[in-house]
C-alpha cells in the first residue's frame, strides 16, 4: 500500500499523458465521423445507383470486419505494400493513421444511424414544406434535421460510449494511449516494473469520462423532449 502511494504520482502523470492521447483520438474521431457519416448516409440513400451501391459496399465492408484489422491495414499497407510510408514512423504518424481508421469506421456506423433517423421522419413533413414553397435544403435544415436528431440521440449515445472504449484498440499500432501507458509499468518504466495495478487503474479514467458523457447525452435527450 505504502509502495503504491509512493508510485502514484509517477503513474498518474503517465496515465494523464496517455489519457490525453485517448481524448484526442476520441474528439478527432467524433469531429470527423459525425459529418462524414452524414455524407455517407446521403450516399447510401442516393437515387444515383452507382453511388448508392458504392456507399453500401463500403459500409458493409467496414461494419463486417474488425476495427483492429482496419487499423493494421491502414497503418501498415502504405509502407509495407506500396513502399510509400505516408504515415511516417513517429507518434504523430501513428496518431494520424489511427484517426483515419477510426473516422472511417465510426462514420460508417453513424451513417446507418443517420439513415434510420432520416427515413423515420414522415414523408408528410417534406411534403408540407414543399407545398409551403420551401427549398429541399430549407426543409432538411429547418424541418427534418431536429426531428432526426431527436430520434438518433439514443442510438448515437451508445456508439459514442463505445467509441471511448474502442480508442484503446489503437494500442495495436503502438499509439501511446492510456492502456499503453498503464501497461508500461508491467514491463518497467520510470523505475517501476512488474506492477499491474496501474493498468487496472486506467478503468477509473474510462468510468469517470463515460459517466460525464452519459450525463451530458441524457441532458441533450431531455432537452429534445419538448416536442414529439
Amino acid at each position: 500500500m505504502e509502495q503504491i502511494m509512493e508510485q502514484m504520482p509517477i503513474v498518474l502523470h503517465s496515465l494523464n499523458i496517455g489519457f490525453l492521447q485517448t481524448l484526442k483520438l476520441f474528439f478527432v474521431t467524433l469531429l470527423g465521423a459525425l459529418p462524414l457519416g452524414l455524407l455517407i448516409s446521403f450516399g447510401s440513400m442516393s437515387r444515383f445507383r452507382p453511388l448508392g451501391i458504392f456507399s453500401k459496399l463500403v459500409v458493409g465492408i467496414v461494419r463486417g470486419t474488425p476495427l483492429m484489422i482496419q487499423l493494421l491495414i491502414i497503418f501498415y499497407f502504405p509502407g509495407l505494400v506500396l513502399h510509400n510510408p505516408i504515415w511516417g514512423s513517429g507518434e504523430a504518424g501513428r496518431f494520424t493513421a489511427a484517426s483515419v481508421s477510426f473516422i472511417l469506421n465510426y462514420a460508417c456506423y453513424f451513417s446507418e444511424i443517420y439513415r434510420g433517423g432520416i427515413q423515420s421522419v414522415p414523408i408528410g413533413q417534406e411534403e408540407a414544406g414543399l407545398v409551403l414553397g420551401m427549398t429541399k435544403t430549407q426543409i432538411f435544415f429547418r424541418v427534418k434535421l431536429l426531428q432526426m436528431i431527436k430520434r438518433i440521440v439514443p442510438p448515437m449515445s451508445n456508439e459514442i460510449i463505445t467509441l471511448v472504449k474502442d480508442t484503446s484498440l489503437a494500442r495495436i499500432i503502438a499509439l501511446q494511449e492510456i492502456i499503453w501507458a498503464g501497461q508500461a509499468f508491467m514491463k518497467g518504466s520510470q523505475g517501476i516494473s512488474g506492477q499491474i495495478w496501474p493498468l487496472f487503474f486506467t478503468a477509473v479514467y474510462y468510468l469517470i469520462f463515460n459517466g460525464i458523457l452519459t450525463v451530458l447525452l441524457s441532458r441533450l435527450e431531455k432537452k429534445l423532449d419538448y416536442f414529439r
Binding site: 414522415p122 408528410g124 414543399l130 409551403l132 414553397g133 416536442f227
Partner: protein, 261 residues
C-alpha cells in the same frame, strides 16, 4: 376569367391510370367540392395541382398563366416549380404540422424563409419579421386559437392542429386553397370546429377546392360540386343539381350511402 383552368390531366402509377382526362375550371371566390368514393383519384388530383405529383398529360393555368403544360417542357423545370406551388395551398388530412415549432412558429416559418429572398430583406429585417408575426397572430385569432399560439402540436387536439394547418396555408396567401379531407382524421366531435372555420373562409370569398366526405357541408358551402369516379369526373354542377337531381346512376348510388348510412 377563371382563376383556375385544368385541362386533360392524366396520371398513371405503375401503368394503372388513376386520373383519366380531368378538366374543369374555377372562378375566383368560388368553392369547389370534390366528392367520390375512396380510390377515385381525389387526393392524386390535389397533389397534381400542388406539384407533388407530375401529371403525365395536361395543362394547369392560374389567372391565365400557364403553370404546367406537359407539351411544353420549359414549364416543368424543377427551379420554377417551387414558386408555382405558391399559387396553391394544401391542407392535408393528417395536418403535417412541424412538431418542433409552436403553432405560431408553424404559421410563420415558410413566410420568414420566403422573405429572405426579398431584395430589401437586409434593410428591413426587423420590420418584415414583425409584419409576418402580426399577420400570423391575426390568422390564428381568426381560427379561434388566440390562446394556443405558444403551444406545440402535441399539446393540441386534432381539431386545433387542423386549424393551425389552415392558418399556416393561409399565411402564404395562396390564390387557391385546397383541402384533402380536412376532417377525416378527427374525432366526430371535433369536425364541427374545423368545418366552421372553412365556412367562414367561404363567406369571405376565399377560392377553395375541398375534397370531403361531409356531404351536408359540401352541399352548404360549395358553389360547384364534382363527383369523381374511377379517375373520371362523372358529374359536375351546382350543389342543388348534383345532390338533389343527379344525372348519373353512379352518383345516386354513391350519395345513397350517405343518406341511409
Amino acid at each position: 376569367m377563371a382563376i383556375l383552368e385544368v385541362e386533360h390531366i392524366c396520371k398513371s402509377f405503375n401503368h394503372t391510370e388513376i386520373l383519366k382526362d380531368i378538366s374543369f375550371s374555377l372562378e375566383k371566390g368560388q368553392v369547389l367540392s370534390i366528392i367520390g368514393s375512396s380510390g377515385s383519384g381525389k387526393t392524386t388530383l390535389l397533389r397534381c395541382l400542388n406539384f407533388l405529383e407530375h401529371p403525365d398529360r395536361g395543362v394547369i393555368r392560374v389567372n391565365g398563366e400557364t403553370l404546367l403544360d406537359t407539351e411544353n417542357p420549359s414549364t416543368w423545370q424543377e427551379s420554377s416549380i417551387r414558386k408555382k406551388r405558391l399559387h396553391f395551398g394544401l391542407v392535408f388530412q393528417s395536418f403535417n404540422l412541424f412538431p418542433q415549432y409552436t403553432a405560431l412558429e408553424n404559421v410563420m416559418l415558410a413566410k420568414e424563409l420566403l422573405a429572405k429572398e426579398q431584395p430589401d430583406y437586409k434593410k428591413r429585417k426587423k420590420e418584415i419579421h414583425e409584419e409576418i408575426r402580426v399577420h400570423a397572430q391575426e390568422l390564428l385569432r381568426q381560427m379561434g386559437l388566440e390562446n394556443r399560439m405558444g403551444n406545440y402540436p402535441h399539446q393540441l387536439s386534432g381539431g386545433q392542429c387542423q386549424r393551425v394547418a389552415i392558418a399556416r396555408a393561409l399565411a402564404l396567401q395562396p390564390d387557391i386553397l385546397c383541402f384533402d379531407e380536412p376532417t377525416s382524421a378527427l374525432d366526430p366531435e371535433l369536425t364541427g370546429e374545423v368545418l366552421k372555420v372553412i365556412r367562414e373562409l367561404a363567406d369571405k370569398n376565399t377560392t377553395m377546392i375541398i375534397v370531403t366526405h361531409e356531404m351536408s357541408f359540401a352541399r352548404d358551402v360549395a358553389s360547384e360540386v364534382i363527383f369523381m369516379d374511377d379517375g373520371y369526373i362523372l358529374e359536375q354542377g351546382d350543389p342543388h343539381q348534383v345532390f338533389e337531381h343527379p344525372k348519373e346512376e353512379r352518383t345516386r348510388q354513391f350519395l345513397s350511402h350517405f343518406t341511409q348510412g
